[in-house]
């Protein structure tokens, strides 16, 4: 039996759980301090514009990207049948990774934001080149995982390895465009277009393949059922590779962007139904062989609910790209709901399931409390539903209110409509939905606090068992 070195995986997974709590706490703080009791705590360093990037960067980079990298360090060696190519390289990569993220994401209250969506990490903090070090750490990670796959013992590549290789290449390219190349592009719409290319590919070509790689590995493993169709999974992989890079421009529909480019992005957005359906059908057909596993296993429940949220977000996304739907939903809270269902409802649920399977195997200890895991799932599901439904319904009503202003054909009519329904009145009308959103976020945070306790106690308190007992 191959001895796997799990220290690199632990170096990414354990801290990421801590940062998940920090990032979500900041999100809940913003939900209350900015939308329910506006500026109850106020000051230069804690107003919305300074703190929001702390929430976004902590949950996207310090939690989700980090835990996904950690899980890749866990399952890539196992799918290759060899230990990780270079543990020292992984240690150096992890060291650089956490130092730059710790400094970068917590420096925003002091005004270091680079100014572009999801690319807020500063170029420099004092003499420290934050983005450069973060990029170098990613290169170390990518080289290490690629070399592990290159030196593999099992000749054929399982679908999770395809997704891993895809994401290693796409992340390198996407992050380079969004974090460095933006500086070299001409100002105006070219720069904005490149920024949206980056933002949408961050979700579609980084978190999506990482998340799907996790499900393709952990669902068969946890359910002890092989995936329904490997051929179908390959169709999904290559269609994502072909389609996803074209759709970033759908963020600029009705904006000053070429109409042909907007239409192209809409067409490719609708084509996304192809990879999405192959993925969802494959996962559902796998678990359909034994639905009892869904009831018995908390991590499988996280995976399947994540797949359902993935389906919802992938139906929402293409529909929001249609011009007439976009007229209502664009710039409203609906979009915030859409981004949270993908990064939280789908990909965070996948990562949590991965942790539930990987931690007992890595620490050779059974989970500390299954009861606590049950509570974790229930609080996450109900909290997410409250959180997401309030954003969707509130956001859609917000969009309908704003659509009143466009009722007419002259500026005079627009001005008259604006006088009848002032913008601030629409903000006040949305407050009830924001209260529900805040409560939903709080429930999720409590659930994840229980999760952190469970994982901490598993690693620290439980006695180690033999590998067979853990299985």
């Amino acid at each position: 039996m191959t001895a796997y070195d799990d220290r690199p995986a632990k170096l990414f997974i354990y801290p990421s759980i801590f940062f998940m709590l920090i990032g979500m706490f900041v999100g809940v703080f913003l939900a209350f301090n900015s939308f329910i009791f506006p500026d109850y705590f106020s000051g230069e360093h804690i107003h919305f514009g300074r703190v929001r990037p702390v929430h976004v960067s902590t949950v996207t980079l310090s939690w989700l990207l980090s835990v996904d990298v950690g899980l890749m360090f866990y399952f890539v060696p196992r799918l290759c049948g060899i230990s990780i190519w270079s543990a020292p390289l992984a240690f150096v990569g992890a060291g650089l990774w956490w130092c730059t993220l710790l400094l970068g994401t917590n420096s925003f209250p002091w005004g270091t934001n680079w100014g572009w969506e999801y690319a807020e990490l500063p170029m420099w903090i004092s003499w420290i080149p934050i983005k450069f070090f973060f990029g170098i750490s990613w290169v170390f990670i990518a080289v290490n995982l690629f070399m592990t796959i290159f030196c593999r013992r099992f000749e054929k590549l399982y679908v999770s390895l395809w997704y891993c290789m895809g994401t290693l290449i796409w992340t390198t390219f996407t992050v380079f465009v969004g974090n460095f190349a933006l500086d070299w592009l001409p100002g105006g719409m070219s720069k904005v277009n490149a920024s949206w290319f980056y933002v949408h590919n961050l979700v579609g070509l980084i978190y999506t393949p990482m998340g799907l790689a996790i499900v393709y590995y952990f669902l068969p493993k946890l359910a002890n059922i092989p995936i329904y169709s490997h051929r179908l999974s390959m169709i999904g992989f290559w269609s994502i590779a072909f389609i996803y890079a074209w759709i970033g421009t759908h963020h600029q529909i009705h904006g000053p962007m070429s109409q042909w480019l907007q239409t192209t992005s809409i067409v490719f957005s609708i084509w996304l139904f192809i990879p999405v359906w192959t993925v969802v059908h494959n996962f559902m057909a796998t678990i359909q062989r034994d639905w009892r596993k869904y009831v018995e296993s908390v991590p499988i429940r996280f995976l399947i609910m994540g797949v359902i949220f993935y389906l919802i977000t992938c139906v929402q996304g293409p529909l929001m790209a249609l011009r007439n739907v976009n007229e209502i939903t664009s710039k409203t809270d609906w979009v915030i709901g859409h981004s949270h269902i993908s990064l939280y409802g789908a990909f965070t649920f996948f990562a949590i399931a991965g942790i539930y399977q990987a931690v007992p195997v890595m620490s050779q200890k059974p989970l500390w409390s299954n009861k606590l895991a049950e509570w974790h799932f229930s609080l996450n599901l109900w909290g997410s539903l409250l959180f997401l439904l309030s954003l969707w319904i509130g956001g859609f009503l917000q969009g309908l209110m704003w659509a009143n202003w466009a009722d007419g054909s002259s500026y005079a009519e627009f001005h008259d409509n604006l006088m009848r329904l002032p913008f601030l009145q629409t903000i006040a009308n949305t407050r009830e939905w924001w209260i529900l959103r805040g409560i939903g976020g709080l429930i999720i945070l409590v659930g994840n606090f229980l999760f952190a306790i469970n994982i901490y106690n598993t690693v620290v308190l439980k006695k180690a068992l033999s590998p067979v007992q853990v299985e």
Partner: protein
């Protein structure tokens, strides 16, 4: 622009060559067998 188009075509041909090489090597034969790799005895933790 000319060299960008030439570069793109060459990159595409390189990708196609890699695909044909692995096709010839049998990477895509018996596609469904690979899904059982997860459950191999030697692969179990």
């Amino acid at each position: 622009m000319f060299w960008m188009i030439i570069g793109s075509i060459l990159a595409s041909l390189a990708g196609l060559a890699v695909y044909i090489y692995y096709l010839w090597k049998g990477e895509f034969d018996e596609e469904e067998l690979v899904k059982y790799q997860l459950f191999r005895e030697e692969n179990n933790e």
